[in-house]
Amino acid sequence: MAQLPADSVGLVTPQRATIDKPLALSCGQVLDSYELVYETYGELNAARDNAVLICHALSGHHHAAGYHTGVEGEKLGWWDSCIGPGKAIDTNKFFVVVPNNIGGCHGSTGPRTVNPNTGRVWGPDFPPLRFRDWVNSQAQLADLLGIEVWAAVIGGSLGGMQAMRWSLEYPERVRHCLLIATAMNLTPQNIAFNELARRAITSDPNFADGWFLEKGVAPVKGLALARMIGHVTYISQHQMEERFGRELHEGTFERGTNSPIRFEIESYLNYKGDRFAEEFDANTYLLITRMLDVYDLAREYDHDAVKAFSHARARFLVVSFTTDWRFSPERSQQIVNALVGAGRDVSYANIDSQLGHDAFLAPIPRYVDTLRQYLGNIPVGGAA
């Protein structure tokens, strides 16, 4: 086993909560019981006021920090750069909870798990969800863990949309809300990209109308293409230039030769797509992209974001990244303006970065520092 860094949460084991309270979903269906896979880092203090909920993004999951095996070369938790003892989300101070969302494909109840009513895998029959269903399921997990109030709910991208929903659905249970590279709804362009991704998946013959697991096939081609489309929107033009340029992965432009040409960017996208398709579920991808399209924070508040946020009680930090065109800074500024209009406490930083939307997962010094400073001010341990 490799020596683990001192600022790592170290070896972690995912936990599994079976929640027997029925979960009434927005679509009208009820899950009589369901399972949530989650990880925790740090300790819940005696005052039970130091719990932080991390909401993961589209391709994320419960493994946000540390190691599962400690074997050399193991892939770290997806936000290890920010979660750990002494890190921005300091596990010496906070009790960090990261659940895998229901409808996901990393262990929580979703299209890959068995529908108890039929004995079949849920597959495409898994009920359509809304963000508040995620929020409600996490509230039940919080009950189970003895967490009445979150010191902070933190999320990037889709996770930020979820964190915002938390602040409206359970205003008394969220003290701070950190919204990173997110938006109050998707733009038509966002929806367009999601539809391209869905079409890619459903066009794959191995998708089998969503019953691929039962049929023992996998729509890896469609899923990979979906991810490739998504990936293009996660990085900036500048970053593509910088990282790949027009470099060739294979082949040559030399006259008199006829070798196939493959650019670095092609190779990279294909690699990313293929890796993703191996581990992700096509039904989950369809489910979640549809949830994203439908999400509209202020819909039930007369489409008035100020009115929506006037229901929140949390203090907010909003962060965006300059070259993010999937969830652009303007989208974050709309959130900030609505929060100011609603008289809520809010700070906002627009971090200079060339990484596009993906910046929210990167250890950019100013970004990490901003999180660290904001979270550092949150009192815990019963202090006023």
């Binding site: 303006n337 008289g343 930083a349 901003t370």
Partner: protein, 200 residues
Amino acid sequence: MRFELTHIARWVPQGARVLDLACGDGRLLRHLMDHRGVTGYGLENDPEQISQCLARDINVIEKELVRDLDEYPTNSFDMVIMTQALQVMRYPDIILEEMLRVGRECIVTFPNFGQLRARTYLAWRGRMPVTRSLPFEWYDTPNIHLCTVADFEAHCRERSYRALNQQMLAEHPLYRLGKGLLPNLFTETAVYHLTRNSRT
């Protein structure tokens, strides 16, 4: 800054909703929160300063002040403040107008270019003034729209802004004696508390 602070604080009503433009390190807003019980936000575009604001636990919003405050509705704040930044604005007249649209009242402070030292600097040395309140060389100054107390007062008359309060500040003892008599000559920093004239 500490100097202006006490004067500004006196004019900010208890519990006011405040917008602080170009709030710097957040010291003023923190002071007003602690001593006047205000709520509000600071706008700032320098990452270094924003970081200090976060350390002070004030609401700071990253924003480059260009010309308007479109995102803020009319009369949405009790008080809009801008200290020592009017002279770096690309459109100081529009910003001032905006401050009095968004806020019922505003407080603005600026270095007086009409002060004796600046005048003599230019008159005798024939060089661009470098003084305590104007510490920059001509090539690196952020101050692109300097004015004098007399300029500012003329502008206020033109736009029908009314001074609810004003305070002329000077650190030099001689200036302090003279500023009452000849404010335009002896004021180093001018502090104005303005409102729009009776809205008819």
